[in-house]
């Protein structure tokens, strides 16, 4: 069954994520980092960062929380068993560091069909408490074979 394309532009509940040291360290180790700036506050400060730096793709944590809300939206009609992660982008404005409080209001930036497949683009502009945008994350989920029609 095709996705509901009229949901383009729909926004979802705001996500809040405190960037805590244990999670930042866990993420860095999981991606095989040995760069001390991602593992140690002092090493990061020695190079001018305010605190231990989150690995660049850390905002995926926000993206996963965003997708989790959207893919189960009954209005959207998505069958998650048909979904694969098609594309991903990050635009970084400044490094995220331990102590940042991230907020993002995910939205459906686009829904479109191409051939037999449909594409759902989820955008999350990740801000810190004072409103500064630190990262824009876009995830494109590919829904296999749901376009219907010809």
């Amino acid at each position: 069954m095709p996705l509901n394309h009229s949901l383009k532009g729909k926004t979802y509940q705001e996500i809040e994520l405190e960037v805590d040291r244990d999670r930042v360290t866990q993420f860095a180790l999981a991606v095989g980092e040995d760069d001390p700036r991602f593992l140690d506050a002092e090493a990061a400060r020695a190079e001018g960062f305010p605190d231990q730096v989150a690995f660049p793709t850390f905002p995926t944590v926000v993206g996963i929380l965003a997708s989790a809300q959207i893919v189960v939206d009954p209005e959207l009609g998505m069958d998650y068993s048909r979904v694969v992660h098609g594309e991903q982008s990050f635009e970084w404005r400044r490094p995220i560091v331990v102590g940042d409080r991230l907020r993002a209001t995910p939205r459906i930036a686009d829904v479109y069909a191409k051939g037999p497949n449909e594409f759902l683009v989820i955008e999350a502009e990740v801000r810190v408490t004072d409103g500064e945008v630190v990262c824009v994350a876009r995830s494109t989920l590919l829904s296999r074979g749901t376009a219907g029609g010809a």
Binding site: Q26, A30, F55, P56, T57, H85, G86, E87
Partner: protein, 141 residues
């Protein structure tokens, strides 16, 4: 880490090649760190039930390896401006993921360097491109 000298870069030049063997325990660690607990990345029986020979790595696992390679080359996490990728093939356990980057453009005025980047595995003698049509922008000013 030293950052590369922008003056020395030429379009078409290959600037990094970073290899990583994809291990089951690392994929599990990535699932826990990222919060993506899709069983496709942890449960062989589930993966087989949807047509794969066994679990596959998260696309974002491969993207993280690519981001690390770009960051290591740039020398500084603050130099990263953007990375956009397409996931075009799955990656299985114990495959060797190779991230590569090539200079696509240099803006001497702003210090922005655009790279064409990708990630591939060798599967039974065939090169399979897991991440393609990918671009990174780093600022080396």
């Amino acid at each position: 880490m030293d950052r590369p000298s922008i003056e020395a870069l030429e379009v078409g030049q290959e600037v990094f090649e970073a290899t990583k063997v994809v291990k089951r325990e690392d994929v599990k660690a990535y699932a826990d760190a990222s919060g993506d607990q899709n069983p496709l990345h942890q449960d062989d029986d589930f993966a087989r039930s949807v047509g794969f020979p066994g679990i596959i790595a998260h696309g974002m696992f491969s993207m993280a390896h690519l981001a690390k390679a770009v960051k290591d080359w740039a020398g500084n996490p603050a130099a990263l401006r953007s990375l956009s990728v397409q996931f075009r093939a799955v990656v299985y356990m114990d495959e060797t993921l190779v991230a590569k980057g090539k200079v696509a453009g240099v803006d001497q005025a702003t210090g922005d360097v655009t790279l064409d980047v990708w990630a591939e595995v060798d599967r039974d003698g065939q090169r399979v491109t897991a991440i393609k049509n990918a671009r990174a922008v780093v600022n080396l000013a």
